[in-house]
Every structure is written in structure tokens, then in C-alpha cells.
């Protein structure tokens, strides 16, 4: 039984290396028949570049996804803290009867934008 298993394993290894050799020979033939010239690449090179582009895009997508979520969370924390500060100031204003200057146009637009 052991011998059978070893034999089977050898067959798979041979099949694997045969496939690698076929791939290598095909690519070699294409590269030889159609060498890369300026701006014109052979099919094998293009195939490799295509898979490189796809994996690079996947990597950038994974990098980009968490950024939007993190930004949203940070912005909402800033807004929440600002509104707390504004409430505090209004409370203080009441208690001290101090009249604060009204918001300037620029500050109003900024507050609007934050809201």
C-alpha cells in the first residue's frame, strides 16, 4: 500500500513538473517569436502585467476601504465635541449674563458646513 502511495505521489510530482515545463516552453516560444519591442509587448508579458495590475488594484482597494469609515467616525467626534462646547458656552453665557459676540458670517458658514 505504501509503495502504491509513493508511486502515486511520484506521478503527481512528475505531472506537476511537466506542466511547469510546458508553460515555460510556451512562454519561451512566444517571447522568442514576438520579442518585446518599444511600446509593443508580447502576449505573455501583457498577461503577467494584467495579473499584476489586478493584484495591485485589490491591494489599493483594501487600503482605501477603512479610510472612509475612519474619516466619518473622526468627523462625527469633532462635531459632537463642538456642539458640546457650544452648549457649555451658552450655559456660561446665561449664568454670567455676558453677551458674547454673534457668530461672524464666516463662522456661521463653517458651523453650517460642520452640521
Amino acid at each position: 500500500m505504501e509503495a502504491e502511495v509513493d508511486k502515486l505521489e511520484l506521478m503527481f510530482q512528475k505531472a506537476d513538473s511537466d506542466l511547469d515545463y510546458i508553460q515555460y516552453r510556451l512562454e519561451y516560444e512566444i517571447k522568442t517569436n514576438y520579442p518585446d519591442s518599444a511600446g509593443k509587448k508580447n502576449p505573455v508579458t501583457l498577461l503577467k502585467e494584467l495579473s499584476a495590475i489586478k493584484s495591485r488594484y485589490q491591494t489599493l482597494q483594501v487600503r482605501f476601504k477603512p479610510i472612509a469609515g475612519a474619516q466619518k467616525e473622526t468627523k462625527s467626534r469633532i462635531c459632537a465635541t463642538f456642539s458640546k462646547t457650544m452648549t457649555l458656552i451658552q450655559e456660561l453665557q446665561k449664568q454670567t449674563d455676558l453677551e458674547l459676540l454673534p457668530l461672524t458670517e464666516e463662522e456661521k458658514t463653517a458651523a453650517e458646513q460642520l452640521r
Binding site: I53, K54, Y57, L60, Q61, F64, I67, A68, Q71, K75, I78, F82, E106, E107, T109, A110, A111, Q113, L114
Partner: protein
Amino acid sequence: TLKDEVNIILDKASLESQQSIGFIKATKILMK
């Protein structure tokens, strides 16, 4: 296609950048 997908995500990223720039400016004004 892949190109379309990249264009879509690029537009989205640029839009978000613009929004963040505006947000940071507004925050700085209110912090003065």
C-alpha cells in the same frame, strides 16, 4: 471593466478628499 472600476473609486476618493478639506477648514475657523 477594471479601468471603469478604478475611475469610479478614484472619483469617490477625490470627492471625499474635497469634503475633508472643507471640513478641516470649517473646524479651524470655529476653533479660532
